[in-house]
């Protein structure tokens, strides 16, 4: 096939996908603030998206903090900078790794689950049934998930920050020979509010991306089990890529001097 035609077709597909996504987001956002607001459903989603993600996010943060401490110690050794482990761990976790790792893990868990659920509802005509029962699917299905994810993610990342630092502390004191109270004091003296808050802003943005990608791909899925499977994969992949891209943009905006 003509390579130009291929590039052209791909570009058109890509642009129309962006257009559909923008249209979807434009329908979803007003539905969050206009009544009826389904508080009970939002609460349910808070449990499913937030609470049940705690173990995954906690474990990820713990091992990331530990590995980070090891790497900084080994790398810093070359410049005699190995004593900076606590400072660099807390900075790395709160600014970058906490939100990004939590975002990616929750994307894997939640975007997939949302896409599979909404996708199944689409292909079994449950979403059509909602409409015939005079219920707006955006308000009933999409809005509670987006609200719950945007609220959950900063809370999860706050927990991840603490556990990540704890992971660094465990490795630092148990195998790198740091004194426990010195490690904690260095951490507390070094970290600032803005380090933590910048990470929480990122977390809220990632929460929006996670729920939006899950809902969008699920809502537009078609063609039975295979279609739902494809929607699930696309939701996770696109959420992960968007999280990493957004993270870069937000880092460059939040920390530009």
């Amino acid at each position: 096939m003509n390579p130009f035609a291929l590039i052209g077709r791909f570009t058109i597909l890509f642009l129309s996908e962006i257009g559909r996504l923008a249209e979807f987001a434009a329908d979803a956002l007003p539905s969050i603030i206009t009544p009826p607001i389904y508080l009970r459903l939002t609460g349910e989603q808070l449990m499913r998206i937030g609470f049940y993600s705690l173990p995954v996010v906690g474990l990820t943060a713990f091992f990331t903090g530990g590995a980070l401490a090891l790497q900084i110690f080994i790398g810093g050794d070359r410049y005699g900078a190995e004593s900076f482990v606590p400072q660099i761990v807390v900075l790395g976790i709160t600014r970058e790794l906490g939100p990004v790792m939590a975002g990616l893990m929750v994307a894997g868990r939640v975007s997939a689950a949302i896409a599979a659920e909404l996708g199944t509802m689409r292909v079994t005509e449950q979403i059509d049934a909602l409409v015939t029962l005079s219920t707006n699917p955006f308000k009933y299905l999409v809005a509670p998930r987006i609200v719950a994810a945007v609220i959950s993610m900063p809370l999860l990342v706050a927990v991840a920050d603490v556990i990540g630092v704890f992971g660094g502390w465990v490795v630092g004191t148990q195998s790198l020979g740091f004194n426990s109270s010195v490690y904690l004091k260095n951490t507390a003296d070094f970290v600032t509010n803005s380090d933590v808050i910048s990470g929480l802003w990122k977390a809220a943005a990632f929460g929006f991306i996670i729920a939006l990608m899950g809902c969008y791909h699920g809502y537009h899925s078609r063609g039975g089990a295979q279609g739902v499977g494809g929607a699930t994969t696309n939701a996770v992949v696109s959420a992960a890529i968007l999280i990493l891209a957004t993270n870069y943009v937000m880092t460059s905006l939040l920390f530009s001097r």
């Binding site: 005509e125 219920t135 009933y140």
Partner: protein, 256 residues
């Protein structure tokens, strides 16, 4: 004559190159029961979905109580859909909710009825389709296909709509239950004075519930009339269909 409850004029719908509806004209009078018959894949379900606003036709006009509904905003559409009850061909029950909440859905969400009161009404409607109280607590995935169909039926009539659409109400039911459902539909129409538009392959059911019958073939309504007249329609397509003959003007697209 009064304004028709539902009126379709020249409704056209295609999926890609495939023309499914090719200018449908159809009218349903208030309190009337119209049954659409036709082969599998001729666009009967698509016709209902066009009226409900789930599928948007390319051309043509659809009026409900004289109001044009093809280009409605989401909120206006919600208001129109309050008049409707719909039984989906595949039931389309919400598998995240117990059976009784499925039936009570329109009452709780749309009409603001309290949960206790709604549950009571839901259990009454379930009893009407021959399902007991215990079934109300089950999840839809725990039901047989025929039971799901009956729950879907209960859900369609729960909020006392003005217009009810039944997409194959008796498919998958045993003959006795099918007759119970037919009776229920006839009784619902008589008692509540509702207008119904049904789809069926089952001629026994069609003769029982219909006032009028319309036959869909190749994207058009090729015959419509009172059910008493269907045996002397003089239309060879209709004759072949109602007698279920493989030989005739309707050629099934299968290799022989």
């Amino acid at each position: 004559m009064a304004t028709p409850k539902i009126e379709l004029k020249g409704v056209t719908k295609r999926f890609g190159p495939k023309v499914v509806l090719d200018g449908i004209d159809l009218g349903v009078q208030p309190g009337e029961s119209l049954v659409i018959i036709g082969g599998s894949g001729t666009g009967k379900s698509v016709t209902l979905k066009c009226i409900l606003g789930l599928i948007h036709p390319e051309r043509g006009s659809i009026k409900v109580d004289g109001q044009e509904v093809t280009r409605l905003s989401a909120s206006a559409r919600e208001k129109v859909n309050r008049k409707f009850g719909m039984l989906f061909q595949g039931s389309a029950l919400f598998d995240s909710l117990p059976v009784w909440e499925n039936v009570a859905f329109a009452l709780i969400q749309g009409h603001g009825v309290g949960r206790d009161q709604a549950k009571k009404i839901a259990l009454q409607k379930l009893a009407k389709v021959g399902l007991t109280k215990d079934v109300g607590e089950l999840s839809p995935s725990e039901l047989s296909g025929g039971m799901q169909k009956r729950v879907g039926l209960a859900r369609a009539i729960a909020a006392d709509p003005e217009i009810i659409f039944f997409d194959e109400p008796t498919t998958g039911l045993d003959p006795i239950m099918a007759d119970v459902i037919n009776e229920l539909i006839v009784k619902t129409v008589k008692d509540m004075g509702v207008t119904t538009l049904s789809i069926t392959h089952d001629m026994v059911s069609a003769r029982k519930i219909a006032d009028k019958i319309a036959m869909l073939y190749k994207g058009k309504i090729i015959w419509a009339g009172r059910k008493e007249d269907i045996d002397k329609s003089g239309n060879e397509f209709v004759d072949q269909f109602i007698h279920g003959r493989a030989e005739g003007p309707i050629k099934m697209e299968i290799a022989r």
